[in-house]
């Protein structure tokens, strides 16, 4: 920067701060402050008579009462949060793996081979992105109900067609998660794969690598950032999901950690424990989230 530009930049600083200020205030008041309230509720107590929350604003006076209650619910005898927590991990892992498994070939095909039909394929891939999540779940509720299309198709082929798909089946919930989140994975993978330099692959083939070895030694390493981003894009919201399983099963055998948080927020006297549980989930997710945020910020710096 030349001296003139530096002074101009400095002179404009007030303007830049002024432009950023409304958004910054919004973020501080409605993103940072809410989590401080959450801490104050988690470290606070309960009004014994009304069973209402009594937040404690001074961190020095925070109690560990709610924390030990939640700890007891997870690890102690009669624990009821351990199973949903474990289930959340299993569901998320399986659903993320299936999503990536389906999304990768689709995104790879469209970014590399669609040619002049790319616009058509993109329209079709983006379409579900514009359909609301509720609509997509409702569609499967229609299909999977007793006497719905899935069961009648099964019985048409002589298979048992009276399965109660919506009566608490893990398979249904995982299918719902995959169906709900896969449009985002595909778009993210497409965005990354589309930027891969084709000449790298051509070079590998020209130098004699077979199709599969090119894929394994060149394409896969080049698509690592895409796979990482795709994993985050699906796994993070899935870990906080509580509605997919409610809609497609509603049975206690398929509850996830989000349902436990919901349940505690709805029961009088347990709001503080809901806050603790939310904070625990946040702490567990903090490391992957920071990793993702830092790598995203670094990527945008490199582009600058």
């Amino acid at each position: 920067m030349s001296a003139i530009e530096t002074t101009r930049h400095r002179r404009n600083r007030g303007l830049w701060i002024g432009l950023a200020l409304p958004g910054a205030i919004w973020l501080l008041v409605l993103f940072v402050a809410p989590f401080y309230v959450m801490l104050s509720v988690a470290g606070g107590g309960v009004n014994e008579f009304f069973q209402t929350v009594v937040p404690v604003w001074n961190p020095l006076h925070w109690s560990s009462w709610n924390l030990s209650a939640v700890w007891h619910d997870i690890f102690g005898p009669g624990a009821f949060i351990g199973a949903p927590a474990l289930r959340t991990l299993v569901y998320t892992a399986i659903a993320t793996a299936i999503s990536l498994g389906i999304a990768y070939p689709v995104a790879y095909f469209v970014s590399r081979y669609a040619g002049p039909r790319k616009t058509l394929f993109l329209v079709l891939l983006i379409a579900p992105f514009w359909v609301s999540y509720m609509m997509r779940m409702l569609a499967w509720i229609d299909l999977l109900q007793q006497g719905g299309f899935v069961n009648s198709t099964l019985s048409f082929f002589g298979l048992p067609g009276n399965t109660d798909w919506l009566g608490g089946k893990s398979v249904t919930v995982i299918l719902g998660l995959v169906y709900g989140y896969i449009p985002y994975v595909i778009l993210v993978l497409y965005a990354f794969l589309d930027r891969i330099d084709q000449s790298m692959l051509e070079a590998a083939r020209d130098l004699g690598l077979s199709k599969w070895r090119t894929f394994w030694h060149v394409t896969i390493p080049l698509s690592k950032p895409a796979l990482i981003a795709g994993t985050f894009i699906t796994a993070l919201p899935m870990l906080g999901d509580y509605y997919t399983n409610q809609l497609l099963s509603g049975a206690p055998g398929t509850t996830m950690i989000g349902n436990a948080i919901e349940g505690q927020l709805d029961s009088p006297g347990e709001v503080g424990q809901g806050a603790v549980l939310s904070l625990m989930l946040l702490v567990v997710l903090l490391i992957p989230m920071i990793y993702y945020v830092v790598s995203t910020a670094r990527a945008s710096m490199e582009n600058a």
Partner: protein, 312 residues
């Protein structure tokens, strides 16, 4: 491009390589990958057909969501049945969704654009921290933010009432990253030159932003506005946590709370179809608007406009 390069490979294969390398070139390496194309079509069918069936059943004559009993629009406008037009809670949910999406877009986009410009040009430790915070708000699971917002408006800032005010406040912070990220990416690719040229030619600070920068950012601003609108229509978690009475429940919450019992049946499909149409109109406006605003620029045409309104 690939096919042109491919022909040169297939017509003159690298002979020595075939002898020395283990992986031999067999057949035409640039042939159409039928397997992958078939798989892609299967995925597309799987992703779209269930939705099409759900839309179809919103026009069912009977009350079933599984057996087709003839065409009718009674679940939309019919009298004497729970139709979207005549059932007050369904009717109200449509209005609430539009109100929330409109208000959120109107507040979120200007402050998000200002935030993006400010952060990008300010360049300091504070702006880096704020940028970090903004991206963080993008990746956090929505449930955690929703619970925190619920606690904020019930325990802390109780002047933000549960219902529409809390819903809009939460939706704005949750969607702030759309304009912030998209506009910032565009700012980075524009660079400083145009503003500097404008300043050298005598434009004032605000004049350079208003007459040079904003017009160049317009496609990005427009795309992010459409995304904010559509993602608010779709939003469920935050609005469910901070809505109060049934009067402040938008379509998504109403569908969720009525799927098992309550107002089930094709009226819910009708409501979902209305949501779909609202989103698709937004998408269409986004696509056409983006193409119009970026006319005269060297763009990748339809593909760029499509990816822009999908936020990628």
């Amino acid at each position: 491009m690939a096919s042109v390069a491919g022909e040169s490979v297939t017509t003159s294969p690298p002979e020595p390589a075939q002898v020395t390398m283990r992986g031999r070139v067999r057949g035409n390496p640039w042939r159409r990958p039928w397997g992958m194309e078939g798989f892609t079509w299967l995925y597309i069918i799987w992703s779209i057909v269930p939705i099409a069936i759900a839309v179809l059943f919103s026009f069912n004559k009977g009350a079933s969501q599984a057996t087709w009993q003839g065409f009718s629009t009674k679940w939309y406008v019919g009298k004497g049945v729970t139709s979207v037009l005549h059932n007050p809670s369904l009717h109200h949910a449509v209005i609430q969704t539009i109100v929330l999406a409109g208000l959120t877009t109107l507040i979120c986009v200007p402050i998000g654009v200002g935030f993006a410009i400010g952060i990008d040009r300010w360049r300091s430790r504070t702006s880096n921290g704020l940028n970090f915070l903004m991206i963080f708000s993008f990746v956090i699971p929505e449930l955690l933010l929703a619970v925190a917002l619920f606690l904020l408006v019930t325990q802390g800032l109780t002047f933000i009432r549960l219902g529409t005010p809390a819903e809009v406040a939460g939706l704005v912070v949750w969607n702030l990253s759309w304009p912030a990220i998209i506009v910032r990416a565009r700012l980075v690719s524009i660079g400083h030159h145009y503003e500097e040229a404008a300043a050298d030619l005598g434009a004032s600070r605000l004049g350079a932003i208003r007459r040079v920068l904003i017009p160049m950012l317009l496609p990005a601003i427009f795309a992010s506005a459409v995304l904010v609108f559509a993602s608010t229509v779709d939003d469920f978690v935050i609005v469910e946590q901070v809505s109060s009475t049934s009067n402040t429940q938008p379509m998504s919450v109403l569908i969720y709370s009525n799927v098992h019992g309550g107002l089930s049946g094709p009226a819910l499909n009708a409501l979902a179809t209305i949501m779909l149409v609202v989103s698709l109109i937004a998408a269409l406006i986004g696509f056409v608007g983006y193409r119009w605003l970026s006319r005269g620029e060297r763009t990748k045409g339809d593909v760029e406009a499509l990816t822009a309104v999908a936020g990628i």
